[in-house]
């Protein structure tokens, strides 16, 4: 009998732990931030290939920096759907969902500002 109590006690602890663990994972998935999802989407949808992992841009004639002066989520999404210049057109939801565009915007806005060139000694030469 004592043995059965112990077994119940241990089992209940295990079950409780499992419930907590599953719950935590669910909550974790839910609290995954737009910024974190956007960071992943920035790679998944190949934005990084031209703009760099932090949107700093590449060669000036290839891809502009997009981690500064991004006006609104709406304007960014609108441009992605119908871009100009050499930007590939992401026209459809199948190519990139609206939600992913929104998350990418959140990611870009979350990036810490880069230092000003005059604050970087290595860029101080005339």
């Amino acid at each position: 009998m004592h043995y059965m109590k112990e077994l119940w006690f241990v089992s209940s602890r295990v079950i409780t732990s499992l419930i907590l663990l599953i719950g935590a994972q669910t909550i974790q998935a839910q609290i995954s931030t737009a910024e974190e999802r956007g960071k992943q989407d920035f790679v998944t949808y190949m934005c990084y290939g031209c703009h760099g992992f932090t949107g700093q841009g590449g060669q000036t004639d290839v891809a502009p920096r997009i981690n500064v002066d991004v006006h609104t989520a709406g304007s960014m999404a609108a441009y992605a759907r119908n871009p100009g210049g050499r930007m590939p057109p992401y026209r459809t939801e199948e190519q990139i969902p609206d939600a992913a565009l929104s998350d990418i915007y959140a990611y870009l806005k979350s990036l810490p500002p880069s230092p000003a060139p005059e604050d970087i000694p290595l860029l101080s030469e005339d």
Binding site: M46, G49, P115, P117
Partner: protein, 619 residues
């Protein structure tokens, strides 16, 4: 090659053993002039060609019954080849042995390459620093097939490689070829397959002369095994023509005068320079012309044409504002890049020799005035003419133009710095930061960028102070992937005796074509610092294929397939260490950069090649 006995080898054991052999060849006279009157050479008897003009310079050699390849080395001596890049092979055993034991592996010294493309690309890079070719010896069949892209790059880049092919035409097998140079004839300037030793002498001198006359290009000599290994009959007289360099073709004086007039009268003249400066002097001429006119300069940086920080250095967009554009060795400058009605002037040797099958020449540019001549050879006359024609009344306007251009240059530089700062502390590394950290540690040294500058988003060109000809070897010519690594080692080989710090900014995809290049650099103790642009991809293709998918309304997220180089990530540092290099990496955090660069430079300055595997942003 006036005196065969000056080819005495150094006093190695092998050379001592070779003395008897060397003694077979006796100079019939100490100088060509002295012997010319007395002896008619075999080549003159056989071919009847050029004897009259060459007679005053000929050197006659009388055989004592020895080897054909020794005579070949006597012929090559006058070109003063410092090195001979080689991938060893059976059909050049005679010539290789003569390099080793007849000339003592000195002038030329053999540089062991583990791939024929390395051998030719090293020659490419070497020339762009040294201004003269080294010799290359590879298999005429399978070896030349390996080397073909490097030959094409040299052709497109107007680099005079001197390539010799081992072949065996009297024994048909899978490694013999009827007409060995044919495979690269579409992208070489001249070739021959000599039948006799005197024929070899004639053709070798002609090949060198053709290669070195602007427009400079690769040449090929097929050197048959039987010719190398033949015993020259005793008493046979052989003749070595003297090489007399051609004067580069300079522009017609009337055309130069007219061109100067158009430049002087222009509101905004711009010089568009591509392969304009062949030497340090050419760099000086372009500076002088630009400053005289206070003209903008747009540089495609195929050579070190113009200082990177010169206030007249401008971006390509200024071409749309210019009313007169002078293209200097820039045969592909498109008229569509100019504003309507602008005058396009050209000085280029391109039309003096070209080939048709490979379309490296671009569209016809419709110049208003074109001078078919070497730009560097023509610039001194043009400068004098411009000086003569500038009226006093124009001087203040010219000065004002210079002030305006300098202001534009200053604004461009400030904008570049703002771009450089963006993502400064990011990981993977910002390529601008890699370039800036490097510059901080090399700027007070005697440095040379031995790679393309258009990697890493041009940051080296934008942030470093390029002002000497050897500061930069320019781009590749063909843009063929696989050029950079061996060309950089070839340029570093040329820099070695000058004590310069050679820097190679190395793309990872390019690197993996010919990684054996590292062994050659370590084996021959060629000090250089290679800094990887390791973005783990052929990123240009990643961009292009993503764009293609987007335009077709298809899945963009799959477009890394076939273009990325990960899973597994390549450990470049481990690879380099395995071949004798000092190496560190992968380096992913910006704080680790400066100390690693310092340690690597110390290794290079001790004589070792060093590699830093820096993991970078895509561009």
């Amino acid at each position: 090659m006036d005196k065969p006995d000056k080819h005495k080898p150094s006093k190695s054991k092998e050379e001592e053993n070779s003395v008897d052999r060397r003694s077979f060849i006796k100079a019939a006279a100490a100088s060509g002039a002295a012997l010319a009157a007395g002896t008619q050479s075999l080549s003159a008897q056989v071919s009847g060609a050029t004897a009259a003009t060459a007679a005053a310079a000929e050197v006659e050699i009388v055989s004592d019954g020895q080897h054909g390849s020794d005579f070949m080395m006597d012929v090559l001596k006058q070109f003063d080849f410092e090195f001979m890049t080689i991938n060893t092979h059976s059909d050049s055993a005679g010539l290789q042995e003569s390099v080793i034991n007849y000339t003592g592996n000195k002038n030329p010294e053999l540089i062991t390459c583990l791939h024929e493309e390395v051998a030719v690309a090293m020659a490419h890079g070497y020339y762009k620093i040294e201004g003269k070719p080294l010799a290359t010896l590879i298999y005429g069949s399978v070896g030349l097939q390996h080397a073909a892209m490097a030959v094409y790059s040299a052709f497109c880049d107007r680099v005079p490689a001197f390539i010799m092919l081992g072949n065996q035409r009297n024994n048909p097998n899978s490694r013999s070829v009827q007409d060995a140079p044919a495979m690269v004839r579409d992208f070489t300037k001249w070739d021959d397959s000599p039948l006799t030793l005197n024929h070899f002498a004639q053709s070798a001198v002609r090949a060198y002369s053709v290669a070195m006359t602007p427009p400079t290009m690769p040449v090929v000599l097929s050197v048959d095994k039987s010719l190398q290994e033949m015993i020259i009959p005793k008493g046979e007289k052989l003749r070595i023509p003297k090489y007399s360099p051609n004067t580069p073709p300079a522009g017609d004086s009337n055309a130069v005068r007219e061109l100067a007039k158009m430049l002087v009268n222009a509101e905004l003249p711009v010089l568009a320079v591509e392969r304009a400066a062949r030497t340090e002097a050419g760099l000086g001429y372009i500076i002088e012309l630009a400053e005289l006119l206070q003209a903008g300069v747009v540089d495609s940086i195929m050579r070190m044409n113009f200082p990177s920080r010169h206030p007249l250095q401008q971006e390509g967009s200024i071409l749309r504002q210019a009313d007169v554009v002078l293209a200097l060795e820039h045969p592909t400058l498109s008229r569509t890049s100019l504003k309507e009605g602008a005058k396009l002037l050209s000085i280029s040797g391109f039309d003096l020799f070209t080939r048709s099958n490979y379309w490296h020449f671009g569209r016809y540019t419709e110049p208003d005035l074109a001078i078919a001549a070497d730009a560097e050879a023509t610039l001194p006359a043009l400068i004098e003419e411009v000086k003569r024609q500038i009226p006093r009344s124009k001087r203040s306007a010219i000065r004002a133009r210079g002030v305006k251009l300098a202001e534009m240059n200053k604004n461009n530089r400030q904008r570049d710095k703002e771009f450089a700062a963006n993502g400064w502390n990011s990981s993977p590394l910002n390529t601008a930061r890699v370039a800036a950290e490097l510059w901080e540690q090399i700027k007070h040294k005697d440095w040379s960028l031995v790679s393309r500058s258009d990697g890493m988003s041009d940051w080296a060109w934008k942030l470093w102070d390029f002002n000497k000809y050897y500061h930069h070897i320019g781009q590749s010519g063909s843009t063929g992937v696989g050029y950079s690594n061996p060309a950089a080692v070839g340029a570093a080989l040329a820099n070695r005796k000058h004590g310069r710090l050679s820097i190679n900014l190395q793309n990872d995809g390019d690197f993996m074509f010919l990684p054996s290049t590292l062994w050659t650099a370590a084996h021959h103790k060629i000090p250089m610092l290679t800094v990887m642009h390791n973005n783990r991809a052929y990123n240009q293709e990643v961009m292009l294929i993503s764009r293609m998918a987007a335009q077709r309304n298809r899945d963009v997220s799959r477009c890394t397939i076939g273009s990325v180089i990960d899973n597994p990530n390549i450990d470049f540092a481990q690879m380099a260490r395995s071949m004798g290099w000092y190496a560190e990496g992968p380096i992913e955090h910006p704080a680790d950069l400066a100390p690693a660069i310092k340690r690597a430079i110390a290794a290079v300055e001790s004589g070792q090649p060093a590699l830093l595997d820096t993991v970078t942003h895509p561009n």
